[in-house]
Symmetry: C2
Subunit: 409 residues, 2 copies
């Protein structure tokens, strides 16, 4: 049989992380690799009560086909929870926020469309965008987020080459970013918001981690500053549980109908039963009581990892201090490559994701992503010590390092 693949299929690749996770599926391994919320935070008994109630009181409707927009009461709760004026009619419930990325890629990306992303950026977004064959352009970024000067240069440069080459959007994850854990500062948000408004450049704002702050909430979302210029993505995966696969997007009213049509064609609607479960759990302010427990747990785990890194790591290894979320970003000494370190770490029963996986181009091979939420504090202590040992054993001797530096062009 002559199965012929579409050109876009050739560009699709297995997730690097997925492949890495396979390597690290070794019994007893301590994994800092996965982006898995701590299962201790899943409110299982609240879900059990909600399931029973939904099936008892509204079973037939919960199990029937439903509207593609999502369950009305849940859309209202989402709209009411956001810190700017959102009409529930702008809310589309999605099958995880990953689906939001897939839908917007379908309606906003033509083959060759330039799109702008952070450096580094969320790998799942690159995977969702790739099938629509965009030209992905990395914008320089630092600890405060997107470099607004570089953004202006790259968006404008492209515009000078003709209308088709205007960047379709900038994709950003301003809060406790995956993979770096960094947060875009208030000043940077203000500057970015002003610059994108000036350029007419739409923003896709992805905010799965925003509620997981440790000491203070992050600055106001970009969408709150310019609602018509932003498409906002949110998720229930990190504040309730990922296994129900529910997220949402908030779209400018002009874009909503096309996103809805894409949604309908993609899976008709997200599971109505799950939407009712989540609405049932969330009513009466459940998240106001529940999310602080997640914050406290993740903060203690971040602190444990920071302390272990400080205690164990050899000179030359650096890392940041995330203000929330699930990830920390580290960097190996000069001359080392995270990808080569990984098998040696796995030998010592500890795993991470080499940062290179998260760059659209010009990857920094020394970086690595460490999740501090899946492993326990004991495991963090043992795992960081093992990782430090692997680094020490892999470090080129001082003489070799000098030779390398001298030979560098």
């Amino acid at each position: 049989m002559q199965w012929t693949l579409a050109a876009r299929a050739e560009k699709m690749n297995p997730s690097v992380i997925r492949e890495i996770l396979k390597v690290t599926e070794k019994p007893g391994i301590i994994s800092f690799a996965g982006g898995l919320p701590s299962p201790k935070t899943f409110p299982i008994s609240a879900f059990a009560d909600a399931c029973a109630k939904v099936l008892r009181e509204d079973g037939q409707a919960a199990l029937q086909y439903a509207a593609s927009e999502g369950y009305g009461p849940l859309r209202e709760m989402v709209a009411a929870s956001l810190p700017w004026q959102v009409d529930p009619a702008q809310v589309l419930i999605t099958t995880g926020s990953q689906q939001g990325l897939d839908l917007l890629a379908k309606i906003l990306i033509d083959k060759g469309s330039p799109i702008l992303v952070e450096t580094p950026t969320y790998l799942g977004a690159l995977q969702a965008f790739t099938p629509m064959e965009p030209q992905v352009i990395s914008v320089a970024s630092d600890d405060d987020g997107i470099d607004v000067m570089d953004l202006a240069m790259k968006a404008t440069l492209r515009q000078a080459q003709g209308e088709r080459k205007t960047a379709r959007f900038l994709y950003v994850l301003p809060n406790f970013q995956n993979p770096t854990g960094r947060t875009m500062s208030e000043a940077r948000r203000a500057a970015l918001s002003a610059k994108t408004a000036e350029l007419g450049l739409p923003i896709i704002e992805d905010n799965p981690y925003g509620d997981l702050w440790f000491d203070a909430p992050p600055p106001l979302p970009l969408s709150a500053r310019n609602p018509d210029g932003c498409l906002y993505l949110g998720s229930f995966s990190k504040v309730l549980a990922p296994g129900l696969r529910l997220g949402f997007l908030v779209a400018p009213k002009a874009l909503y109908p096309k996103l809805l049509q894409a949604k309908q064609a993609a899976d008709l609607h997200s599971p109505g039963f799950n939407q009712r479960m989540i609405a049932e759990v969330m009513k009466d302010g459940f998240l106001d009581r529940h999310v602080p427990t997640i914050r406290a747990l993740y903060k203690s785990q971040r602190d444990a990892m920071l302390a272990a890194l400080k205690r164990e790591m050899p000179e030359g290894v650096s890392w940041n201090t995330p203000d929330g979320g699930m990830f920390l970003w580290a960097r190996l000494p000069a001359g080392m490559r995270a990808v080569e370190l990984l098998p040696k770490a796995v030998e010592k029963n500890v795993a991470f994701v080499p940062g290179a996986a998260f760059y659209a181009d010009n990857a920094d091979p020394r970086t690595l992503r460490l999740s501090f939420v899946t492993a326990s504090v004991d495991q963090i202590n043992t795992g960081v010590a093992a990782l430090a040992a692997a680094i020490r054993e892999s470090q080129p001797a001082a003489g070799v390092r000098i030779a390398e530096t001298a030979g560098a062009k």
Copy 2:
């Protein structure tokens, strides 16, 4: 802000059915329009038991991120349920079988790729394929299914124009088709299977209704005859409940990795909680006891509709006798158009879907789709009488009809 839509977005349209359903959302209306399973068939107490058990015994895993392929035990159950040799590794659990259509469109359709469909065909498939911008070619079809001679002509004709114009696949729904309710005969399946093998033409076989037979099971699937040449789609929506949004596909091993990558990019995985619920309900042969009750209910409703049509319809209206599934296909007398009949029927509190919605081209304006599963037997009797009255009132007078015929070019 300069939101620019992708070219494919311009081709996406709201579902005609969805728009029709809005018109018919009038209190007290009897709807033969929707494709909704009877909620009486949803095994609510079995689901309630399954939810409680899954959360109690396996809650953390059920609520965590999971493998994109789907839940292992469910994949095994699917493989074991099919009447040909299927390796569970070929089974991909999807977010409804609608998602299977979206995924295969992404990996198999380039812009302009010819694809072949039945006349008429499932509207949701057209909606899933359209964003990838295929050239959709309708193959003539009769009560026994696809016209194999016409298929050979259309597939071959395209091949003569160069390699890029070879049809990528034929999409068929052989059992109790949506919208017509027809079933492809054994002879036609054998001929189609031989011809597609000869042409090297892959088949997408969609089988959401196959288990809902009334007197005898349908003939063996096309996939069983040529597993490497067919991609098979199935669903739990019609035998358990659509609101959990679970379906599956069975792919030739060569195609599976690309479908899996597309799945991962689309929504990471289908809800693991729902997959466990369904696996829990299905174990110990639940479907062997449950599905016969759906068959009996739907058969009695089909019989009620057939009897009502025979009793009520004026001369010149014709309809078929489906051997299973949810739909019946009717045709109005010459000179009438279902689309014009609809508002008059809605005035009389009865709704249907004009058949024209289901044609890729050259629609037959006289056809209509009637679902016999959502309305009760009493409603079927009342609704068919109302529909017959609307038809009688809309029928052109005999004299007008003659004048029209004489004036036709």
